[in-house]
């Protein structure tokens, strides 16, 4: 678990770097730190062991999820060049908080002990509350932060309650002990355990914004600075699903019959709410918020149909979703700046009008991202959906699948509104300039989407 230590140290170093006069060094330093951590993470490849008094478990799955989180963070940070020009911003603090939050994410991914899960969730959440409110003079940013904090704290409280009940039942916080307890109880574990499972699930489902625990999502996504929205919708979601996968497959695998119906119902609701509401949005950012809810629904299918394929499906889906989402937000950042009213960038669909003429490359990148999110073949998003659907079919969950298919069609509707705006609607004809490095990161995200779409096997072989 070199990554956790490295990131914590780097975070502190960054805070000190903030004292330097030149802000220009911060961005490359942060990127370098993330890359270093990514490399260090893969040093532990194929070495499965417990760490820190059985608190954390190093495994290949954990390393892959960590990799996705770090790649997402790398991209988000690379798109943050604007902070350095903004007088009011405090980039050193932002970057440090981002690194600390990744520490939390990694703990959520690699925990073996429920205490670690709780600490990870808290580290990640508190960082997010702060970053959401970092646009201090903006009323909506403040509102979002407060809303997120109040509801998030409440959800964490519920989760903690669940963990306590589990401890009451099993007498231990570690996943393997809980698994052992369930095995020993011969199909009749204490009622406390069932309550605990449900409460922990509620807490985690809040974090990944599954319906009906999703109400904070659109307001928070809209209010937060776009860059942190990108971070939130990818890193938090990936970490949340990795944590759920670990919890459900290791500790609660034996009582699948108990929780799968609950999860399947929530999956259906999430798919419905996310997709149908997204179709009615006029703001791109709010649409992306509901789209993130709907993707939580697709990912949940992989959990509700927990089986040998789930792990692969979730890892692949998270990666496909993350790169596409970051590319989309990255382009929103550039495009929205073109038209600022009342100090707020324009984040409606109409901001994209005529983008194919203003900058064909950006239009192409956003189009590929939208296609991938919509799950059109030959993009990574298609194979993500494909794997999730396969897992569901393997379990015979045909009804959920039919719903998911119908909702995918709705998804095509709202993702394509962006494509239509870019390619077929008239907009201003001023060319939009993008810095070379910014462009490079966006191209890299698109390349990942297309390459994984053509040869998904490249990534599958890792598992």
């Amino acid at each position: 678990m070199l990554s956790i230590i490295l990131l914590s140290v780097f975070g502190i170093v960054l805070l000190y770097l903030g004292f330097l006069k030149s802000r220009a060094v911060l961005l490359p330093a942060t990127l370098f730190f993330i890359l270093l951590t990514l490399g260090a993470g893969f040093l532990e490849w194929n070495k499965s062991y417990l760490y820190f008094g059985d608190m954390l478990l190093v495994s290949n799955t954990a390393i892959l999820f960590t990799g996705i989180v770090l790649v997402s963070a790398f991209m988000v940070v690379s798109l943050s060049g604007d902070f350095l020009d903004d007088e009011a911003a405090q980039p050193a603090e932002y970057y440090a908080i981002l690194l600390f939050s990744i520490v939390g994410a990694i703990m959520m991914i690699a925990y073996e002990n429920l205490i670690m899960l709780f600490v990870g969730v808290e580290i990640l959440s508190v960082s997010m509350y702060v970053l959401t409110g970092s646009d201090k003079k903006n009323l909506r940013s403040n509102e979002a932060a407060l809303k997120y904090f109040l509801m998030g704290a409440f959800a964490t409280g519920i989760m903690l309650f669940g963990i306590a009940l589990l401890y009451g039942a099993a007498g231990s916080f570690t996943l393997t002990d809980i698994k052992g307890y369930i095995a020993l109880s011969q199909g009749r574990p204490s009622l406390l355990l069932y309550m605990g499972v449900l409460l922990i699930l509620i807490g985690m489902l809040f974090k990944v914004s599954a319906a009906p625990f999703h109400f904070w999502t659109p307001d928070v996504y809209e209010g937060a600075p776009t860059l942190f929205t990108a971070f939130m919708s990818t890193v938090v979601k990936t970490a949340g699903f990795a944590a759920l996968l670990q919890l459900l497959s290791v500790a609660f695998g034996a009582i699948y019959g108990f929780w799968w119906i609950t999860l399947a119902a929530i999956t259906g609701l999430t798919l419905l709410v996310g997709n149908l509401t997204a179709a009615y949005q006029d703001s791109f950012k709010r649409m992306m918020a509901y789209s993130s809810i709907s993707h939580a629904g697709y990912l949940l299918i992989g959990l509700a149909a927990l089986g040998p394929q789930s792990k692969q499906a979730l890892v692949f889906y998270s990666l496909a979703y993350s790169v596409a989402t970051i590319a989309a937000f990255g382009i929103l950042l550039v495009v929205a700046k073109q038209r600022v009213t009342d100090g707020r960038p324009d984040d409606t669909y109409s901001a994209f009008n005529g983008l194919s003429r203003q900058n064909p490359l950006l239009a192409f990148i956003l189009a590929v991202s939208m296609l991938s999110l919509a799950g059109i073949p030959l993009t990574a998003g298609f194979w993500g959906k494909f794997m999730v659907f396969s897992a569901a079919i393997d379990k015979g969950m045909v009804w959920i699948l039919v719903l998911a298919v119908l909702m995918s069609a709705v998804g095509i509707y709202y993702y394509f509104r962006v494509v239509i705006a870019m390619y077929f609607r008239e907009g201003s004809s001023t060319y939009i300039q993008v810095a070379p490095f910014y462009r490079f990161v966006l191209i890299a995200a698109t390349a990942i989407t297309i390459i994984l779409g053509l040869v998904p096997g490249l990534f599958q072989n890792l598992m």
């Binding site: 079919i393 119908l406 095509i412 394509f416 077929f424």
Partner: protein, 484 residues
């Protein structure tokens, strides 16, 4: 290797068109399409008439090789490969008379479309088929939505969402079938022929039948899934309309023959009659609406809807006549409908109107156009010795064998077809000249070069249908073994 070149060459040509761009775009695209025509022509002439898949290739692709990049040409694919190969250069040539904005992108999209269509018609792996089936939508969507008419954005959007929605059901069915196949070393198989051999329960047969049926019925389209079609045909630029009506709707019919019939034969036994009834409703309904149209492009769109209904009915009759007829009729209809849309395009662009009431007397100025138009029209109304006759006769024979009454109603198509087509010809070509048709210019040299191959094909298929039927027969007989 031949199939691989057929699949990859249009993509290379499209990239070349994009790279060179500018004024040369259309010439390069045309040359590329001609080479592709040569390749598919070579496949046609060196094809050995038996039931095997020829010129095939097979590479491992996804999931440790259980999903394979594998394609080949058999008797069912062959005519459609030829159709795609033949029509694409003609469609590109027919577009020469217009100047499109950003020509490189325009012609590259047509070539991408061709690559996807070839993929659909040659894929031997179910998932590869699905991927190409979906991939074909993207270029045609951009063609129609970028260069189309006034109302293009809303109309093509409906088309896109509608058709993707349908094919998602097919995806679910395919994934389901994939997991039903027996495993070797923990891996399933998605080869289409492996799916033929599955044993499925009655419930499975039913829902897989409907999953496939909705996907293909929307694509064809069959009544009542046709509502996207007339508007999309009318709003698209003519080359895109030609691609849609000439080739793309055949993807649906082909899908039924390739996947639906052999995989769920009992499903077809249970629900085939429903499918045929819907198709026959489409035949009559489409024809009646076509008779009432004033807009020539819309008239041809509805005629196409009516014709494809007959193909669907013939295929669902599960008879050798019906399937053979559908294969030949797909070729014939593609040729006729592309010709008809070209005539409509010529008339519309010279008179600046598509309304029949404002036309008349064109024939006075245009001996050549009249002849070409007449030949294509006779093909469309299935006059004996033209291409339409062979296909429609076999199709009707197939439906008749299945059910006399449905066959009789489907037979109305020939009468109705004559009514709307002759009305079109009469109103546009004969009668008094009007303001807009005075001084109508006859077809130019390059326009003739579109018509001549089409007219040759009309007679070739009409006079020597056996040169086509004998190629498809063994494959169809083989297919029927899985059905019975």
């Amino acid at each position: 290797m031949l199939t691989l070149s057929i699949l990859l060459f249009p993509i290379l040509a499209a990239l070349l068109v994009l790279a060179v761009g500018g004024k040369q775009a259309k010439q390069i695209a045309f040359l590329g399409a001609l080479v592709e025509l040569g390749l598919s022509g070579y496949a046609f002439f060196s094809f050995v008439p038996d039931a095997t898949s020829q010129f095939a290739f097979d590479y491992p692709w996804i999931a440790a090789g259980s999903i394979r990049f594998s394609a080949g040409i058999d008797g069912v694919s062959l005519l459609l490969v030829v159709l795609t190969g033949l029509l694409t250069p003609l469609i590109i040539l027919s577009a020469f008379r217009h100047t499109y904005e950003r020509p490189a992108v325009f012609y590259a999209l047509i070539l991408f479309m061709q690559a996807a269509l070839m993929g659909v018609f040659t894929a031997r792996d179910a998932f590869l088929f699905y991927l190409y089936f979906e991939a074909a939508l993207i270029p045609i969507y951009f063609l129609a939505a970028s260069w189309g008419g006034e109302n293009r954005i809303a109309v093509t959007f409906k088309f896109f969402v509608y058709t993707i929605f349908g094919s998602l059901f097919m995806l679910v069915a395919l994934v389901y079938l994939y997991f039903k196949t027996s495993t070797t070393a923990g891996l399933h198989s998605s080869a289409i022929t492996d799916l033929y051999n599955l044993t499925l329960s009655a419930t499975e047969q039913t829902w897989i039948f409907w999953a496939f049926f909705i996907a293909f019925a929307i694509k064809m389209p069959v009544f009542p899934f046709h509502t996207w079609q007339p508007d999309t045909y009318v709003e698209s630029p003519t080359p895109a309309t030609m691609l849609l009506a000439g080739i793309m709707l055949k993807m649906g019919v082909y899908g039924v023959i390739r996947l639906l019939l052999p995989i769920v034969p009992e499903g077809v036994d249970m629900w085939g009659t429903t499918a045929i009834v819907l198709s026959v409703i489409g035949i009559v309904y489409g024809a009646i609406i076509a008779i009432r149209q004033r807009d020539i492009k819309r008239l041809i769109a509805y005629s196409s809807f009516s014709h494809v209904g007959l193909m669907a009915a013939g295929v669902f009759s599960q008879t050798s006549y019906g399937i053979q007829g559908a294969l030949v009729q797909m070729l014939a209809h593609g040729i006729n409908v592309v010709g008809m849309f070209f005539v409509a395009d010529i008339i519309a662009s010279r008179t600046n109107t598509r309304l029949l009431d404002q036309m008349g007397g064109i024939t006075r100025y245009t001996p050549k156009l009249t002849v070409y138009f007449m030949i294509l029209l006779l093909g469309s109304v299935a006059l004996p010795l033209t291409n339409g006759f062979v296909g429609e006769f076999l199709l009707l024979a197939g439906v008749f064998e299945y059910n006399n009454i449905l066959g009789a109603i489907a037979g109305l198509t020939i009468i109705f077809g004559a009514v709307y087509m002759l009305r079109l010809f009469q109103k546009a070509m004969f009668g008094k000249t009007t303001d807009v048709t005075t001084g109508f210019k006859d077809v130019s040299g390059s326009e003739s070069w579109v018509f001549i191959p089409l007219c040759i094909m009309v007679f070739w298929i009409g006079l020597v249908p056996n040169s086509f039927l004998k190629l498809t027969e063994p494959a169809v007989a083989n297919l029927l073994q899985f059905i019975k």
